[in-house]
Amino acid sequence: METETLPDISERTKEKVENAFEKNWSVIVWNDPINLMTYVVFVFMKVLAFPKEKATKHMLEVHNNGKSCVATETREKAELYFQQLQGYGLTVTIEQSDI
């Protein structure tokens, strides 16, 4: 009787662990006409712990270019930012930047 070998399983586990720690998830904030510029800066400072200058730079990027990548993180942390920013009423998506 043939037996299954374990290496496949450990390979998959290894891949999962590696993926979990890989900082390849981008958090993208999209422009909308309702949220105030000052409010977006406030939220970036609060959620992402950005200093005011950096928060303003990203807010202007959202305003002028339609979107800004505010963080590139592990999936878990990107999801946390995603949820917090959405909870504040911003339009947010996350996407894997390097597949």
């Binding site: 309702i34 105030l36 000052t38 409010y39 909870g87 009423g89």
Partner: protein, 171 residues
């Protein structure tokens, strides 16, 4: 409206019209916060419970449902400060109508007011063009419901900006 920071509190004084606008906004917010995402009308769902980002995150249907449940939980957490505002108003008999909000709860109020701005815009199809209206003549060309909603959105924007400024001051 006058707003100031007094130690660990933010103190507002409103005219009667401002009180009415704020009470109306708070009542609508409380109603909408009570409604679960799956029962919310599509305009509320689109602005407060958008699942657009969940697709990019490759979440399953169950994960998305859980996600929306958590977003709803975040929003219901803002109800306490709104109820306290209504209670304070109802205990007063004459203007100026005052509200005292602990600094620790002010952020919940600020975010709730912003939620209502988003909701009004969605409900009345207010977008970039309407938000860019700067003159009275241009305002009066809009349908009456959009005019009312825009005035409310602008009043709440004023409150949001005052709150941000007061929260960022040292007190």
């Amino acid at each position: 409206m006058i707003a100031r920071r007094q130690a660990d509190q933010i103190v507002f004084a409103f005219s009667t019209l401002e009180r009415k606008v704020l009470e109306r906004a708070i009542a609508a917010l409380l109603d909408n916060y009570k409604t679960r995402p799956e029962e919310a009308d599509h305009k509320v769902a689109a602005v407060w419970y958008s699942a657009r980002g969940c697709q990019g995150a490759r979440m399953s249907a169950d994960e998305t449902a859980e996600w929306l449940k958590q977003l709803h939980h975040v929003r219901t957490g803002r109800m306490e400060v709104l109820e306290s505002c209504l209670k304070q108003f109802s205990a007063q008999s004459q203007p100026p109508w005052a509200l005292r909000i602990p600094v620790s709860r002010a952020e919940a109020l600020l975010t709730a007011l912003n939620d209502h701005r988003l909701l009004l815009a969605a409900r009345h199809d207010i977008g970039e063009a309407q938000m860019s209206v700067r003159t009275f003549a241009a305002l009066t060309k809009l349908p009456p419901d959009q005019q009312t909603a825009l005035c409310e959105i602008e009043f709440l924007a004023y409150m949001v900006e005052e709150l941000i400024q007061l929260l960022q001051s040292t007190g």
